[in-house]
């Protein structure tokens, strides 16, 4: 690779300072040639989960172009024309380009949303030697955050980029700038990015749908459960805005997972709250979950649009277009309906009620129930053991025919076990819990695929029954159903083999190690 020397960054208290400073250090005959001042607006984008940042990329829009900037070197690595002025976009909506590929690999499902807009003023200089040869380019950039109370720049940043072959000549200048009292030398562009995000009050990596609780194994299960339930509540709240703004389908997905986790833990740890209260809130969350089903179903089909098209011969593909248009149309209604509900007083009251319930719980409440005052590690061990045994028992009962009902039920058992493992993960050694989850995941993938195909087949069957006589569409749906059916049968056939590997001495030993490793 043709290399360009690394740019060094400095912060000074104001932009005018650099000329005075450099006058002191430039060798005789050298000079600072000032170029024109330019203004630029920069918009930064990333997904709700900071997936570009995780891949060491900053996404910047400026002058009707979208750029990818390497967070380490600060170099612009990719660009595409980008006229749109939108709050968010999906990688799939970009024109075919290496930039699109790169963002698609960061996330093919989450939207990249605008994080902040900066107004920058750039002063550029060339550092010339006594032959008037440019040895380095120095830019001084002042950053102002749009829509902030203060219109004063919050940062003056200097970037010193030696031209190739002149690193040695420029080294003393960079050295000089970095030891100045009024200057602060920055490691790389990543640090600048962090400063900008801090100023824009963007909490980098502030969101994760994953459970990252640190439970105390000796605390009461009542206390630990509260911790988890408070976490799932916060995940729900954090996703509400994204659902309402319809940024991408993952907001609703995470929201639903949080509801499921809440319900699953409440049910499996029945007895830690008073029965009446548990029943009340379980109903509340079941109803809330139901309200999201229709919208999620439509999302899932729309996400499958491309794969549906690709599995049909080209002459049948156009007939699917109105089919997906209908889904998109009905999605609009379900979306509006859910938004209306999420903004309703009814919903706010329900969630507030739940929050108040969680906050008001105290030690006394723990002692009100038999279960509540038991230690977390005992309940964890017992409940995981129970759920694991249940999976084994139900799995073994599955007949040679492996009916849909049997697989559906086992899938739910597995999910329950998975939620327990994830909930209690922090009280186990990572080396004992990771292999257990890995084994379970394999089984869940098989069952998940099976159920997924079954649900799709049912949906398509319903469509077939209700549609007007459109020969081509019927043929398309028939084609899709044949493919899905074949895949479903493959998953069904695979089940016994997959389950056998889960119901195996080795897995059993893993569970044994896990549960004894933590037992008192």
């Amino acid at each position: 690779m043709r290399t360009t020397p690394k740019t060094e960054y400095f912060r000074l208290s104001n932009a005018a300072e650099v000329e005075t400073l450099l006058e002191q250090i430039l060798p005789v005959g050298w000079k600072l040639e000032s170029l024109e001042v330019s203004k630029e607006q920069k918009e930064f984008y990333d997904t709700f989960e900071w997936q570009a940042f995780d891949n060491k990329i900053a996404i910047v829009k400026k002058q009707a172009f979208l750029f990818l900037v390497d967070l380490i070197t600060g170099r612009e690595t990719h660009s595409v024309p980008f006229q749109k002025n939108c709050p968010s976009f999906l990688a799939t909506s970009l024109p075919s380009s290496p930039l699109k590929e790169k963002l698609y690999s960061c996330s093919n499902i989450r939207a990249f949303s605008k994080l902040c807009t900066l107004d920058t003023r750039i002063y550029s200089y060339h550092i010339l030697d006594d032959n008037d040869k440019t040895l380095a380019i120095l830019t001084a950039e002042s950053f102002c955050l749009q829509r902030s109370e203060s219109q004063e720049p919050f940062m003056h940043l200097f970037a010193l980029s030696p031209l190739r072959g002149y690193e040695d000549e420029i080294a003393p200048i960079s050295q000089f700038l970095s030891v100045q009292k009024r200057s602060e030398s920055l490691m790389d562009f990543r640090e600048i990015f962090l400063l900008i995000m801090h100023e824009a009050r963007q909490n980098i990596k502030g969101y994760s749908a994953k459970i990252q609780l640190k439970l105390n194994p000796d605390a009461t299960i009542h206390e630990s459960a509260l911790q988890l339930l408070q976490h799932t509540l916060s995940v729900m709240r954090l996703n509400e805005n994204g659902i309402k703004k319809d940024i991408d389908s993952e907001f609703l997905h995470d929201y639903r997972v949080a509801i499921r986790r809440t319900r699953s833990i409440m049910k499996q740890l029945m007895g830690i709250f008073l029965e009446k209260e548990s029943r009340y809130f379980l109903t509340l969350f079941r109803e809330l979950g139901k309200k999201t089903n229709d919208l999620r179903d439509r999302d899932v089909y729309l996400l499958r649009e491309e794969s549906y098209f690709n599995s049909l011969p080209p002459y049948l593909q156009p007939s699917l277009r109105p089919f997906f248009e209908n889904i998109a149309e009905s999605r609009k209604d379900f979306y509006k309906r859910l938004c209306r509900y999420l903004s309703s007083i009814d919903y706010q009251l329900s969630l507030n009620e739940w929050e108040t319930f969680l906050n008001q719980q105290s030690l006394q409440n723990a002692e009100l129930t038999l279960q509540g005052s038991r230690s977390t590690k005992i309940v964890a061990t017992e409940s995981i053991k129970k759920a694991w045994k249940k999976v084994i028992r139900h799995g073994r009962q599955i007949s040679r025919e492996t009916t849909d009902t049997e697989l559906h039920a086992l899938r739910i058992d597995c999910k329950k076990l998975r939620y327990l493992l994830e909930f209690f993960a922090s009280i186990f050694q990572p080396e004992t819990i990771t292999p257990v989850i890995r084994q379970l995941k394999e089984l869940q993938e098989n069952l998940g695929a099976f159920v997924d195909f079954a649900v799709q087949l049912r949906f398509l069957h319903e469509q077939l029954e209700s549609m007007a006589s459109d020969k081509l569409l019927a043929a398309s749906i028939g084609g899709l159903m044949a493919t899905l059916f074949q895949k479903q049968e493959e998953a069904r056939l695979k089940f016994h083999k997959t389950f056998a590997s889960f119901d195996h001495e080795e897995t059993s030993q893993l569970f044994h190690d896990l549960l004894t490793g933590c037992s008192p």
């Binding site: 690779m1 043709r2 360009t4 060339h126 032959n131 008037d132 040869k133 440019t134 031209l163 190739r164 072959g165 002149y166």
Partner: protein
Amino acid sequence: MKTIALYSIKGGVGKTAAAVNLSYLSSRFSPPTLLCDLDPQGASSYYFRISASKKYNSDKFLKGNKKIYSNIKATDFENLDLLPSDFSYRNLDIELAEEKKPQKKLKKNIEELSNDYQFLFFDSPPNLTLLSESLFAASDIILVPLIPTTLSIRTFMQLKDFFEANKLNSSKIHPFFSMVEKQKKLHRDIINEFRNTPGFLTQTIPYNSEVEKMGIYRAPINAVHPNSPASKAYLHLWEELTELQR
């Protein structure tokens, strides 16, 4: 990477001016580009205000790849780098004679650069030595500027003869007329006589005082006066050169 040599046995024919301007155009239209100054007089390097590091010499050049790599310098123009020449290059052909396969040396020495640049231009010293032979082997195209005079044509014929005698691939050679003064009948006659000869490029470069002034402002004329007749001629020559590669 395409390699293009600006070569002539005769000096003062506009070799360096063509190397500087064509490499500049190449860096604009097919970036990135490297200009490799092989002439110990270092005129190309001078035009770009670049001199080699004190530690750099012909020895390092002959060591090749890594040593060459660390001595490449950026010009003031984006995507145009230069490997400056050093006065020690005057002995390059003698040193080359001591190498095992001197004719293949240059080709081997630039191998590693092939991923870095789309175009590599050589500006070469005016003579016919072992270095020239090595240059012929390393180049995909050998551009020969010719002043439309009898002497110039004679040196070109010498070059053709040399290629034939040594069984070299003479289809690489592409002459073009340089420093053309249309008002001179001799220039017009010679151009008319040779313009349809296979291998000759049709675009000619006019004699232009702006080109001579390149020594004063030390930059490609195409960068400073893109609309001057000479700039336009170089641009058309570049276009013809890209056609040649199709």
